[in-house]
């Protein structure tokens, strides 16, 4: 692949910088040949992978090495793109926003520094994956549960710092962050919240500290390099009670949201509820060619055939109650009464009690009962079309109002049909908001299909913004477009972000372009 250097850096200066990096981390951890660079490309890119090609990667093993690398990067003006494990699938993977940026791969910093069973937290480094932490908890029989996203290949910290989520009581992962250690662009180490006390006894326990709270300023951010994270884990409940239901029609989504929202807000339901379309199971268990070979979006009769054969409803959701059995049964009755207003259909109910197969069972065995286990099975979706599959997620935040949510569904489906893309949506009822994740699946070998998917994405961003809905997270290629939708007072918030960025990182070293925040020296590179 072609080597793209950072802007305004000559090949000679770049080579000097790489040699200096090698002096810090060792030659083997400066990854700068063609094959190495390719391993950091976005394999699911909606188009040319090299639009976000790194010039190299460098992998430190410690905070001190990061400080030393930053000194060199500032001297040679080498931008660095920090990644934890680089599994930001569907959002750009390990690739940087600005081509030519050097990936700062923190995967070697992979220690679980502490797990506190009594108070329900861990402290981890960037390279700790969901599988690593899960294995540690299982092997040591620590009764704490993780909240695990659909693709569990990634880093616990990386996922939280990108606002990953799941449908569990601790499912808003950035909300679980409690105190960070951050290396600033000038090499200074900062600890946030009560971690700022030299002898802090409460770092992973109290989120706010004294004065401004900065934890969330390092989320979806390029203000610093996070090296340690206090993170809350859920105490194992005494029992769980799961209630599952499928609904036959797309219009059922409206009343479903209106029933779930008050139950969620009052915490009768204490988790975000994922309401997935029929495509959820179809894309994991089959390929499109088994159902349809037209180049237009799946027609209604094919949708019904998928539902008939897979047993899925148009919508499918599960509610899980956590806690003492008596409390769960009381909440079950409240939920069932609320649903009886709209449907006679009973829930499919399963129960789990602490001790049932919780220890000693294989990691992914159902015998582990209620404890969530990591899985990457949802990555099957990329194989929907065959070929070199890829996926994008378009995920606006909506008000939790059935009528408005239904209107957004109808607008979105019409756009998918217009561009000939199969609709695949999930709505997460999250109390005061709904996260609407729309998966856009394509075969990267099919240029026409990929092009239509990009145009669909552009249209969806504009449609949503017109109705006052912005995305919670997006792919590298759309960070600027989505940032522009947060345009109140002529983008005042982004001017503030860039003012802070220029003060903290005057040479624009850390992740230029992340979340549409461009340092002053690269602002002209903004697409």
């Amino acid at each position: 692949m072609q080597l793209i250097l950072p802007p305004d850096v000559t090949a000679a200066r770049f080579d000097q910088a790489m040699a200096a990096f090698a002096g810090v981390v060792g030659r083997q951890w400066v990854l700068a040949d063609d094959e190495d660079r390719e391993t950091y490309l976005d394999i699911y890119a909606p188009g040319n992978e090299e639009a976000h090609a790194p010039s190299a990667a460098v992998a430190p093993a410690s905070v001190e090495e990061i400080q030393a690398l930053l000194r060199i990067a500032n001297e040679f003006r080498i931008p660095l793109w920090p990644i934890s494990r680089g599994k930001n699938m569907g959002y750009g993977g390990a690739a940087p926003a600005m081509p030519g940026t050097v990936v700062l791969d923190l995967g070697r910093m992979n220690r679980i520094l502490d797990v506190n069973e009594k108070f329900g937290y861990c402290v981890v480094e960037p390279g700790v994956g969901f599988y690593d932490l899960h294995r540690h908890l299982s092997e040591n029989q620590i009764p704490l549960w993780m909240s695990i996203p659909g693709n569990a290949w990634g880093s616990v910290m990386g996922n939280a710092l990108d606002r990953g989520f799941s449908a569990s009581p601790y499912g808003e992962h950035s909300n679980n962050i409690c105190g960070l250690e951050v290396v600033l662009a000038n090499g200074e180490i900062v600890r946030t919240a009560t971690g700022a006390m030299a002898n802090s006894a409460t770092w992973p326990l109290f989120k706010f500290g004294f004065g401004p709270s900065w934890d969330q300023a390092f989320v979806q951010s390029n203000f610093g390099i996070v090296t340690k994270m206090g993170y809350w884990l859920m105490p194992e409940p005494a029992s769980t009670l799961s209630m599952n239901m499928s609904l036959p029609n797309p219009e059922d989504l409206g009343w479903l949201i209106d029933i779930l929202t008050p139950l969620r807000m009052s915490r009768v339901i204490d988790q975000n509820i994922g309401i997935a379309s029929y495509m959820g199971s179809a894309t994991v268990s089959s390929q499109r060619s088994e159902w349809y070979d037209g180049r237009d979006a799946l027609p209604e009769q094919v949708v019904r055939a998928i539902m008939d054969k897979t047993g899925a409803g148009w919508w499918n959701f599960g509610i899980r109650l956590y806690g003492d059995p008596e409390a769960n049964e009381a909440h079950r009755k409240i939920i069932e009464a609320a649903f009886r207003e709209r449907t006679e259909q009973p829930f499919r109910i399963t129960r789990w009690t602490r001790g049932e197969g919780a220890s000693g069972a294989a990691e992914n065995s159902p015998a582990r009962g209620g404890a969530p286990s990591p899985s990457v099975l949802p990555l099957q979706i990329v194989n929907w079309h065959g070929g070199r599959g890829g996926h994008l997620g378009f995920s606006p935040i909506l008000p939790p109002d059935g009528k408005l949510v239904l209107e957004q569904l109808q607008r979105t489906r019409a756009r998918f049909t217009e561009f000939g893309v199969d609709y695949s949506g999930t709505f997460y009822a999250s109390g005061r908001h709904v996260i609407n994740v729309n998966l856009i699946l394509y075969d990267r070998d099919d240029e026409d299909m990929t092009d239509r998917c990009r145009k669909l994405f552009d249209a969806l961003v504009k449609d949503a913004a017109q109705h006052g809905y912005g995305e919670y997270r997006t792919h590298l290629s759309y960070m600027d477009a989505v940032a522009d939708t947060f345009g109140f007072n002529d983008r005042a918030l982004w001017r503030m972000n860039e003012t802070v960025k220029d003060v903290l990182d005057p040479n624009g070293i850390i992740a230029p372009g992340k979340s549409g925040i461009w340092p002053k020296n690269y602002r002209s590179a903004r697409p």
């Binding site: 951890w29 699911y44 992998a59 699938m89 690593d132 971690g195 802090s200 006894a201 099975l377 890829g390």
Partner: protein, 122 residues
């Protein structure tokens, strides 16, 4: 309440002082208690997709048939092929960087799978 010494120390000291409470995570970080065998590395690094019921196993079953779905059952794997697939990806399988899977570990995995492959051919 007593928190680990880690929290009471500056960062420079902390990185050296965490050993009492820290756990090297399995896989990328070698530990004295975990043998670095090809089989163990395969389980940790490849197993999340390429054991029974994994997404890689499903995909291979579609492409190559059920008999060739599990990598540990294959009879036609070669060193060079595995090296290319791991570093360059295959269809929708992502590439592995040398940070995530260092060359030494990859060679152990290859030896394990190719050894299996030879055994299966006998």
């Amino acid at each position: 309440m007593k928190l680990p010494a880690f929290f009471a120390l500056g960062a420079l000291v902390a990185t050296a002082a965490v050993t009492a409470s820290a756990q090297d995570t399995a896989g990328r970080g070698a530990t004295s208690t975990q043998p670095r065998s090809g089989a163990a590395l395969f389980q940790q690094q490849c197993g999340i997709c390429h054991l029974e019921g994994g997404t890689g196993t499903f995909m291979l079953a579609r492409r190559l048939g059920q008999d060739n779905a599990l990598l540990t059952n294959r009879t036609n794997l070669t060193d060079a092929y595995l090296r290319v697939v791991v570093r360059q990806g295959q269809q929708s399988m992502p590439r592995f960087t040398r940070v995530e899977l260092p060359d030494d570990d990859l060679e152990l995995i290859i030896a394990y799978l190719v050894g299996n492959s030879r055994e299966s051919r006998r």
